[in-house]
Amino acid sequence: MRPAVPAALRLSARAYAWLLRAYPASFRAEFGGEMALVFSDCCRAAWRCGGPRGVWRLLGRTVLDMLASAPPLWAERLEEAMRGNRVGRGMGLWLADHGLAGAGLALLVLGATAWPLALPLGWTALGLAFFAWVAEADGIALPRPGRAVIRTCGCWETPLAFAVRHGDVVLLFTRDEEPDRGAWSDTYTVRQRPDGADVDPKWELPLVSPSEWSLRGRTPVTTLCFEHHERVSYVTRGSLERSLACFAV
Protein backbone atom coordinates (compact mmCIF):
# COMPACT_ATOMS: atom_id res chain seq x y z
CA MET A 1 0.00 0.00 0.00
CA ARG A 2 2.83 2.37 0.75
CA PRO A 3 3.87 3.20 -2.84
CA ALA A 4 0.23 4.22 -3.55
CA VAL A 5 0.56 7.22 -1.21
CA PRO A 6 2.87 9.37 -3.31
CA ALA A 7 1.12 8.27 -6.51
CA ALA A 8 -2.31 9.34 -5.24
CA LEU A 9 -0.95 12.63 -3.98
CA ARG A 10 0.95 13.25 -7.20
CA LEU A 11 -2.14 12.53 -9.26
CA SER A 12 -4.36 14.81 -7.21
CA ALA A 13 -1.73 17.56 -7.37
CA ARG A 14 -1.70 17.19 -11.14
CA ALA A 15 -5.50 17.27 -11.24
CA TYR A 16 -5.50 20.45 -9.17
CA ALA A 17 -2.88 22.07 -11.41
CA TRP A 18 -5.28 21.38 -14.28
CA LEU A 19 -8.26 22.74 -12.30
CA LEU A 20 -6.35 25.97 -11.68
CA ARG A 21 -6.87 26.80 -15.36
CA ALA A 22 -10.44 27.71 -14.42
CA TYR A 23 -9.07 30.90 -12.81
CA PRO A 24 -8.06 34.04 -14.75
CA ALA A 25 -4.40 34.05 -15.82
CA SER A 26 -3.50 37.13 -13.75
CA PHE A 27 -4.92 35.52 -10.60
CA ARG A 28 -3.09 32.26 -11.33
CA ALA A 29 0.16 34.15 -11.86
CA GLU A 30 -0.18 35.84 -8.49
CA PHE A 31 -1.56 33.03 -6.34
CA GLY A 32 -1.48 29.81 -8.42
CA GLY A 33 1.81 28.53 -6.97
CA GLU A 34 0.67 29.13 -3.43
CA MET A 35 -2.73 27.57 -4.06
CA ALA A 36 -1.09 24.41 -5.41
CA LEU A 37 1.12 24.30 -2.33
CA VAL A 38 -1.84 24.71 0.02
CA PHE A 39 -3.73 22.00 -1.86
CA SER A 40 -0.75 19.62 -1.46
CA ASP A 41 -0.74 20.34 2.28
CA CYS A 42 -4.49 19.61 2.41
CA CYS A 43 -3.96 16.40 0.41
CA ARG A 44 -1.34 15.12 2.81
CA ALA A 45 -3.59 15.91 5.78
CA ALA A 46 -6.59 14.23 4.06
CA TRP A 47 -4.50 11.14 3.33
CA ARG A 48 -3.31 10.90 6.93
CA CYS A 49 -6.88 11.19 8.25
CA GLY A 50 -8.93 9.26 5.70
CA GLY A 51 -6.65 7.54 3.18
CA PRO A 52 -7.80 7.47 -0.48
CA ARG A 53 -11.41 8.23 0.51
CA GLY A 54 -10.22 11.35 2.33
CA VAL A 55 -8.36 12.53 -0.78
CA TRP A 56 -11.45 11.92 -2.97
CA ARG A 57 -13.61 13.89 -0.57
CA LEU A 58 -11.07 16.70 -0.61
CA LEU A 59 -11.03 16.71 -4.43
CA GLY A 60 -14.84 16.93 -4.50
CA ARG A 61 -14.83 19.83 -2.05
CA THR A 62 -12.09 21.55 -4.04
CA VAL A 63 -14.05 21.29 -7.30
CA LEU A 64 -17.09 22.86 -5.60
CA ASP A 65 -14.82 25.54 -4.15
CA MET A 66 -13.47 26.23 -7.63
CA LEU A 67 -17.01 26.49 -9.03
CA ALA A 68 -17.85 29.00 -6.32
CA SER A 69 -14.71 31.13 -6.43
CA ALA A 70 -13.76 31.29 -10.14
CA PRO A 71 -16.83 33.09 -11.62
CA PRO A 72 -16.55 36.23 -9.46
CA LEU A 73 -12.86 36.48 -10.38
CA TRP A 74 -13.74 36.27 -14.07
CA ALA A 75 -16.42 38.92 -13.58
CA GLU A 76 -13.80 41.11 -11.89
CA ARG A 77 -11.45 40.48 -14.83
CA LEU A 78 -14.21 41.57 -17.21
CA GLU A 79 -14.72 44.73 -15.25
CA GLU A 80 -10.96 45.48 -15.37
CA ALA A 81 -10.99 44.95 -19.13
CA MET A 82 -13.95 47.28 -19.34
CA ARG A 83 -12.12 49.96 -17.36
CA GLY A 84 -9.17 49.64 -19.73
CA ASN A 85 -11.57 50.24 -22.64
CA ARG A 86 -10.71 46.87 -24.12
CA VAL A 87 -14.44 46.16 -24.17
CA GLY A 88 -16.89 48.89 -25.17
CA ARG A 89 -18.20 50.57 -22.03
CA GLY A 90 -21.89 50.06 -22.72
CA MET A 91 -21.34 46.47 -23.81
CA GLY A 92 -19.08 45.80 -20.81
CA LEU A 93 -21.68 47.09 -18.36
CA TRP A 94 -24.32 44.97 -19.99
CA LEU A 95 -22.07 41.91 -19.88
CA ALA A 96 -21.23 42.52 -16.23
CA ASP A 97 -24.95 42.66 -15.46
CA HIS A 98 -26.29 39.90 -17.69
CA GLY A 99 -23.31 38.10 -19.23
CA LEU A 100 -23.55 34.67 -17.61
CA ALA A 101 -27.31 34.38 -17.85
CA GLY A 102 -27.22 35.61 -21.46
CA ALA A 103 -24.53 33.09 -22.42
CA GLY A 104 -26.51 30.26 -20.80
CA LEU A 105 -29.67 31.26 -22.66
CA ALA A 106 -27.82 31.54 -25.99
CA LEU A 107 -26.39 28.05 -25.50
CA LEU A 108 -29.84 26.65 -24.72
CA VAL A 109 -31.25 28.14 -27.93
CA LEU A 110 -28.28 26.87 -29.93
CA GLY A 111 -28.60 23.43 -28.33
CA ALA A 112 -32.30 23.23 -29.15
CA THR A 113 -31.72 24.09 -32.80
CA ALA A 114 -28.65 21.91 -33.39
CA TRP A 115 -29.60 18.53 -31.92
CA PRO A 116 -26.21 16.72 -32.22
CA LEU A 117 -24.75 19.42 -30.02
CA ALA A 118 -27.68 19.54 -27.63
CA LEU A 119 -26.23 17.38 -24.87
CA PRO A 120 -22.79 19.02 -24.48
CA LEU A 121 -24.28 22.48 -24.94
CA GLY A 122 -27.02 21.68 -22.43
CA TRP A 123 -24.46 20.64 -19.85
CA THR A 124 -22.40 23.76 -20.51
CA ALA A 125 -25.53 25.90 -20.14
CA LEU A 126 -26.31 24.15 -16.88
CA GLY A 127 -22.74 24.83 -15.73
CA LEU A 128 -23.04 28.51 -16.61
CA ALA A 129 -26.40 28.75 -14.83
CA PHE A 130 -24.79 27.18 -11.76
CA PHE A 131 -21.86 29.65 -12.00
CA ALA A 132 -24.33 32.54 -12.18
CA TRP A 133 -26.31 31.22 -9.24
CA VAL A 134 -23.20 30.64 -7.13
CA ALA A 135 -21.87 34.10 -7.91
CA GLU A 136 -25.12 35.52 -6.55
CA ALA A 137 -25.15 33.39 -3.40
CA ASP A 138 -24.84 35.38 -0.25
CA GLY A 139 -21.57 35.22 1.68
CA ILE A 140 -19.40 33.80 -1.08
CA ALA A 141 -18.18 36.81 -2.98
CA LEU A 142 -19.99 39.92 -1.93
CA PRO A 143 -19.96 42.62 -3.06
CA ARG A 144 -19.92 41.00 -6.47
CA PRO A 145 -18.32 42.97 -9.27
CA GLY A 146 -20.99 44.72 -11.27
CA ARG A 147 -23.03 45.39 -8.13
CA ALA A 148 -22.77 48.42 -5.83
CA VAL A 149 -23.71 47.99 -2.19
CA ILE A 150 -26.48 50.32 -1.12
CA ARG A 151 -27.19 51.21 2.44
CA THR A 152 -30.86 51.18 3.25
CA CYS A 153 -32.86 50.71 6.45
CA GLY A 154 -35.20 48.09 5.04
CA CYS A 155 -35.28 45.53 2.26
CA TRP A 156 -37.95 47.15 0.11
CA GLU A 157 -38.49 46.08 -3.43
CA THR A 158 -37.74 49.70 -4.39
CA PRO A 159 -36.27 51.40 -1.28
CA LEU A 160 -37.74 54.73 -0.19
CA ALA A 161 -34.30 56.11 0.69
CA PHE A 162 -30.83 54.78 0.24
CA ALA A 163 -27.27 56.02 0.02
CA VAL A 164 -24.72 54.78 -2.45
CA ARG A 165 -21.05 55.57 -2.80
CA HIS A 166 -20.13 56.65 -6.33
CA GLY A 167 -16.40 57.30 -6.63
CA ASP A 168 -15.54 59.87 -3.97
CA VAL A 169 -19.07 61.12 -3.43
CA VAL A 170 -21.98 59.73 -1.45
CA LEU A 171 -25.33 60.14 -3.15
CA LEU A 172 -28.67 60.01 -1.41
CA PHE A 173 -31.68 58.71 -3.34
CA THR A 174 -35.09 59.52 -1.87
CA ARG A 175 -38.68 59.08 -3.01
CA ASP A 176 -41.02 61.83 -1.86
CA GLU A 177 -44.50 61.33 -0.53
CA GLU A 178 -47.23 62.58 -2.86
CA PRO A 179 -50.28 63.19 -0.65
CA ASP A 180 -52.50 63.94 -3.66
CA ARG A 181 -51.96 60.46 -5.05
CA GLY A 182 -51.59 58.85 -1.65
CA ALA A 183 -48.41 57.19 -2.88
CA TRP A 184 -44.67 57.65 -3.15
CA SER A 185 -43.19 59.41 -6.16
CA ASP A 186 -42.16 57.41 -9.21
CA THR A 187 -38.82 59.22 -9.34
CA TYR A 188 -35.84 59.33 -7.03
CA THR A 189 -34.48 62.72 -6.03
CA VAL A 190 -30.69 62.47 -5.99
CA ARG A 191 -28.68 64.66 -3.61
CA GLN A 192 -24.98 64.75 -2.91
CA ARG A 193 -23.79 64.52 0.68
CA PRO A 194 -21.68 67.55 1.64
CA ASP A 195 -18.43 66.95 3.57
CA GLY A 196 -18.99 66.75 7.30
CA ALA A 197 -22.77 66.25 7.08
CA ASP A 198 -24.31 64.39 10.03
CA VAL A 199 -25.42 60.95 8.93
CA ASP A 200 -26.40 57.72 10.57
CA PRO A 201 -23.03 55.91 10.57
CA LYS A 202 -24.61 52.58 9.74
CA TRP A 203 -26.93 53.49 6.88
CA GLU A 204 -25.29 56.75 5.73
CA LEU A 205 -28.75 58.32 5.74
CA PRO A 206 -29.11 61.94 6.97
CA LEU A 207 -30.11 62.54 10.58
CA VAL A 208 -31.97 65.74 9.67
CA SER A 209 -33.83 66.75 6.53
CA PRO A 210 -31.36 66.66 3.62
CA SER A 211 -32.94 69.62 1.83
CA GLU A 212 -29.68 71.56 2.28
CA TRP A 213 -27.75 68.92 0.36
CA SER A 214 -26.98 69.85 -3.21
CA LEU A 215 -29.57 68.54 -5.64
CA ARG A 216 -28.02 66.53 -8.47
CA GLY A 217 -31.15 65.52 -10.38
CA ARG A 218 -34.05 63.12 -10.58
CA THR A 219 -34.24 59.64 -12.03
CA PRO A 220 -37.23 57.34 -12.59
CA VAL A 221 -37.48 54.47 -10.11
CA THR A 222 -37.75 52.01 -13.00
CA THR A 223 -34.24 52.82 -14.31
CA LEU A 224 -32.62 51.23 -11.25
CA CYS A 225 -32.34 47.47 -10.73
CA PHE A 226 -32.19 46.27 -7.12
CA GLU A 227 -31.20 42.97 -5.62
CA HIS A 228 -31.77 42.01 -2.03
CA HIS A 229 -29.88 39.38 -0.15
CA GLU A 230 -30.31 38.38 3.43
CA ARG A 231 -28.02 41.04 4.83
CA VAL A 232 -27.18 43.33 1.98
CA SER A 233 -28.99 45.22 -0.74
CA TYR A 234 -27.49 46.00 -4.12
CA VAL A 235 -28.16 48.20 -7.05
CA THR A 236 -26.67 46.90 -10.27
CA ARG A 237 -23.77 49.06 -11.30
CA GLY A 238 -24.96 49.16 -14.90
CA SER A 239 -28.36 50.59 -14.01
CA LEU A 240 -26.77 53.04 -11.55
CA GLU A 241 -24.29 54.28 -14.17
CA ARG A 242 -27.04 54.66 -16.74
CA SER A 243 -29.31 56.64 -14.43
CA LEU A 244 -26.44 58.87 -13.21
CA ALA A 245 -25.32 59.49 -16.78
CA CYS A 246 -28.69 61.21 -17.37
CA PHE A 247 -27.68 64.07 -15.12
CA ALA A 248 -23.88 63.73 -15.43
CA VAL A 249 -22.76 63.04 -11.86
Binding site: Y23, F27, E30, F31, G33, E34, M35, L37, V38, F39, D41, C42, R61, T62, L64, D65, M66, A68, S69, A70, P72, L73, G139, I140, A141, L142, R165, P201, K202, R231, V232
Partner: protein
Protein backbone atom coordinates in the same frame (compact mmCIF):
# COMPACT_ATOMS: atom_id res chain seq x y z
CA UNK B 1 -4.22 57.73 3.54
CA UNK B 2 -5.89 54.72 5.24
CA UNK B 3 -6.40 56.77 8.39
CA UNK B 4 -8.99 58.81 6.45
CA UNK B 5 -10.83 55.77 5.07
CA UNK B 6 -14.03 54.87 6.84
CA UNK B 7 -13.99 51.23 8.04
CA UNK B 8 -17.81 51.24 8.04
CA UNK B 9 -17.82 51.65 4.27
CA UNK B 10 -16.56 48.06 3.91
CA UNK B 11 -19.21 46.46 6.11
CA UNK B 12 -20.67 43.92 6.25
CA UNK B 13 -17.63 41.76 5.53
CA UNK B 14 -18.19 38.51 3.62
CA UNK B 15 -17.79 35.46 5.87
CA UNK B 16 -14.53 34.29 4.30
CA UNK B 17 -12.90 37.70 4.77
CA UNK B 18 -14.07 37.95 8.37
CA UNK B 19 -12.66 34.50 9.11
CA UNK B 20 -9.31 35.40 7.55
CA UNK B 21 -9.03 38.65 9.50
CA UNK B 22 -9.85 36.76 12.71
CA UNK B 23 -7.21 34.15 11.88
CA UNK B 24 -4.62 36.89 11.43
CA UNK B 25 -5.32 38.53 14.80
CA UNK B 26 -2.88 36.11 16.41
CA UNK B 27 -0.05 37.23 14.12
CA UNK B 28 1.13 36.66 10.59
CA UNK B 29 0.27 33.39 8.88
CA UNK B 30 0.46 31.65 5.52
CA UNK B 31 -2.52 30.29 3.57
CA UNK B 32 -2.57 26.76 4.96
CA UNK B 33 -2.19 28.00 8.54
CA UNK B 34 -5.19 30.30 8.00
CA UNK B 35 -7.29 27.40 6.67
CA UNK B 36 -6.41 25.33 9.72
CA UNK B 37 -7.13 28.21 12.10
CA UNK B 38 -10.58 28.74 10.54
CA UNK B 39 -11.40 25.03 10.69
CA UNK B 40 -10.21 24.79 14.29
CA UNK B 41 -12.11 27.88 15.42
CA UNK B 42 -15.37 26.66 13.89
CA UNK B 43 -14.97 23.09 15.13
CA UNK B 44 -14.76 21.84 11.54
CA UNK B 45 -18.00 23.50 10.43
CA UNK B 46 -16.32 26.11 8.23
CA UNK B 47 -13.73 25.00 5.72
CA UNK B 48 -12.14 27.45 3.32
CA UNK B 49 -11.05 25.93 0.04
CA UNK B 50 -7.91 27.30 -1.67
CA UNK B 51 -10.00 29.19 -4.26
CA UNK B 52 -12.21 30.94 -1.70
CA UNK B 53 -9.20 31.64 0.52
CA UNK B 54 -7.01 33.24 -2.15
CA UNK B 55 -9.87 35.13 -3.81
CA UNK B 56 -10.61 36.66 -0.40
CA UNK B 57 -6.89 37.33 0.22
CA UNK B 58 -6.71 39.11 -3.14
CA UNK B 59 -9.61 41.39 -2.15
CA UNK B 60 -8.17 42.02 1.32
CA UNK B 61 -4.75 42.88 -0.16
CA UNK B 62 -6.38 45.20 -2.71
CA UNK B 63 -8.33 46.92 0.08
CA UNK B 64 -5.13 47.11 2.19
CA UNK B 65 -6.82 45.30 5.08
CA UNK B 66 -3.89 42.90 5.14
CA UNK B 67 -0.33 43.13 3.90
CA UNK B 68 2.28 40.68 2.85
CA UNK B 69 5.04 40.08 5.33
CA UNK B 70 8.57 40.15 3.94
CA UNK B 71 10.07 37.91 6.61
CA UNK B 72 9.83 34.13 6.73
CA UNK B 73 9.41 32.60 10.15
CA UNK B 74 11.45 29.62 9.19
CA UNK B 75 13.17 30.47 5.93
CA UNK B 76 15.04 27.17 5.69
CA UNK B 77 12.04 24.90 6.19
CA UNK B 78 9.47 27.00 4.38
CA UNK B 79 8.79 26.56 0.69
CA UNK B 80 9.93 29.56 -1.35
CA UNK B 81 6.39 30.00 -2.75
CA UNK B 82 4.83 30.23 0.70
CA UNK B 83 3.89 33.81 1.55
CA UNK B 84 2.95 35.20 4.92
CA UNK B 85 0.23 37.77 5.49
CA UNK B 86 -0.49 40.03 8.43
CA UNK B 87 -3.30 42.32 9.52
CA UNK B 88 -2.78 46.02 8.68
CA UNK B 89 -3.80 48.85 11.03
CA UNK B 90 -6.72 49.64 8.77
CA UNK B 91 -7.68 45.93 8.72
CA UNK B 92 -7.77 45.91 12.54
CA UNK B 93 -10.11 48.92 12.50
CA UNK B 94 -12.39 47.25 9.94
CA UNK B 95 -12.44 44.03 11.99
CA UNK B 96 -13.27 45.98 15.13
CA UNK B 97 -16.12 47.79 13.35
CA UNK B 98 -17.49 44.48 11.98
CA UNK B 99 -17.37 42.86 15.43
CA UNK B 100 -19.19 45.89 16.89
CA UNK B 101 -21.83 45.55 14.18
CA UNK B 102 -22.28 41.83 14.85
CA UNK B 103 -22.38 42.38 18.61
CA UNK B 104 -25.14 44.97 18.19
CA UNK B 105 -27.03 42.57 15.93
CA UNK B 106 -26.75 39.68 18.39
CA UNK B 107 -27.76 41.92 21.30
CA UNK B 108 -30.78 43.12 19.35
CA UNK B 109 -31.75 39.56 18.37
CA UNK B 110 -31.44 38.25 21.92
CA UNK B 111 -33.49 41.14 23.23
CA UNK B 112 -36.21 40.43 20.65
CA UNK B 113 -36.24 36.75 21.58
CA UNK B 114 -36.15 37.64 25.28
CA UNK B 115 -32.97 35.65 25.79
CA UNK B 116 -30.48 36.50 28.50
CA UNK B 117 -27.18 37.98 27.24
CA UNK B 118 -25.26 34.89 28.35
CA UNK B 119 -27.52 32.29 26.77
CA UNK B 120 -30.78 30.59 27.66
CA UNK B 121 -34.12 32.26 28.24
CA UNK B 122 -34.38 35.03 30.79
Amino acid sequence: MDSRRDPESLLPLPDAELEILLALVGGEAHGYAMMQAVEQRSGGRTRLGPGTLYAALKRLLAGRLIEESEERRDAERDHARRRYYRLSDFGSRVLEAELDRLTALVRHGRRRLRLSPLGGRS
